[in-house]
Amino acid sequence: MTSMSEQAPSATSPRDSGSSGATGTFPVKRGLAEMLKGGVIMDVVNAEQARIAEDAGACAVMALERVPADIRRDGGVARMSDPEMIEGIVGAVSIPVMAKARIGHFVEAQIIEALGVDFIDESEVLTPADETHHIDKYAFSVPFVCGATNLGEALRRISEGAAMIRSKGEAGTGNIVEAVRHLRSILGDIRKLTQADAAEQFEWAKQLQAPLPLVQEVAATGALPVPLFCAGGIATPADAALAMQLGAEAVFVGSGIFKSNDPSPRARAIVEATTHFRDAQILAKVSRGLGAPMTGIGMDQVNERYAERGW
């Protein structure tokens, strides 16, 4: 269970529009993350894919110029998408739209916010713009999601204002192994931390390189103070259900849908698998006859580990 709004860090830049209420507050940012739970957020590169994703039951779409598998293949610097392309997707669907900014590139984030996008992913899939600092996410009204490979990284991102954490996995591989590693690391450490006494919590904060108040909160509640989703390597309905059974609260699917042979039924099957993640009968039913998933690659063939980006 995530803790409730009054325990959240207060935002430093909410816009108070008088009697009509306060916008951009932390509870409002985290509120959208709460609404996406149990759902599937799909990477899309154009309006047509966005409509296919919405038709299949996606709870949100991630607008980007190239899916991670293509970024991996093409190499070069991966940047924020063209605003025209993002606007095209915003206009094509009625569900929330996310877009990616480079780590530390707060101007890309300012531009994405100005486009009216609903969530920004400060993403290691794009080429980092700053090798020391992440974006000060409190400076924005739009909520941010950030990747993490372990509990310390997750808590550092939350201390910077992230309203959602996603385990990083290894994007563009179609291989779930890294996502499982990261989820197990984050959730395993949370379980251990709940057993730590007050003195041990100081040591945890030091080891995790995370703020003590956040460490104490996790120790008390047994959960991150924001939702924890899974990303990076989900290619099948079974992969999505695995992430959910391990403790993820929703899933991102990047290359796994539109790099498969038949995206539409696969997208729908992954949505149903994410809802019925403990029901093996339904999982068996929706996994049938989907055609070939994306080929995927083994970790020993991965040229660059995106998960190692971010600090």
């Binding site: 209420g21 959208l32 609903d118």
Partner: protein, 202 residues
């Protein structure tokens, strides 16, 4: 443990903030079960339809074969609390929805999907609960890409409003909110729903 006399409540768990609703109910010592399949509806006296994406839930209601059973149970008097997407699914008519989006028509409301705007327009504000005494503290309403009520029938009782527009309303056994009472640690809206339910069940 909850008293045996208490009728069970289900929380629709297809997608969205269902766990937060269960937490609010648990704070009232009300046990709840997650509803994902038709059999989960057996014996329920109340159902919560949470916030989330109404298009996703609408699709899953059909694929999970829950739409028609829930419609029948509502017809037979099932009490329902619907928040945000739940309100959209319960409304008589949805504006700006998808053409294939189905609604249950359980409350005489016309609602505009995302009527309060996108996420950058999402907000929180104090609401006066109509049921409360004059000195009752306001309820902090969190509105996330919220639906806006555009019209309501004479049979609809307005329980709270924001800038002249109903944001909490009830008609017979159906209660709906365009905001998210499950996201604030204030169980008054849930308590009122459970109270209503028990009054009718006894």
């Amino acid at each position: 443990m909850h008293p045996v006399s208490r009728p069970p409540i289900g929380v629709l768990a297809l997608q969205g903030a269902f766990a937060a609703h269960q937490q609010r109910l648990a704070e009232l010592d009300v046990a709840s079960i997650q509803v994902r399949r038709p059999a989960d509806l057996d014996g329920l006296h109340g159902l919560v339809m949470p916030g989330g994406e109404s298009t996703t839930m609408s699709m899953l209601l059909t694929s999970s074969e829950l739409f028609d059973p829930i419609a029948e149970r509502i017809h037979d008097g099932l009490a329902v609390l619907g928040t945000c997407a739940g309100m959209i699914l319960l409304a008589r008519e949805v504006l700006d929805g998808r053409t294939d989006q189905r609604c249950l028509g359980a409350i005489d409301l016309v609602v505009r999907r995302n009527g309060y705007g996108r996420q950058l327009d999402s907000f929180e504000c104090d609401l006066a609960l109509r049921s409360g005494t004059p000195d009752e503290p306001p309820f902090r309403g969190v509105f996330i890409r919220a639906p806006k009520v555009e019209a309501w029938g004479a049979g609809v009782e307005v329980l709270a409003e924001h800038e002249g527009v109903p944001v909490l309303a009830r008609q017979r056994r159906i209660t709906v909110a365009s905001f998210h009472p499950e996201l604030t640690r204030d169980a008054r809206v849930h308590a009122e729903f459970v109270h209503h339910l028990e009054m009718e069940s006894s």
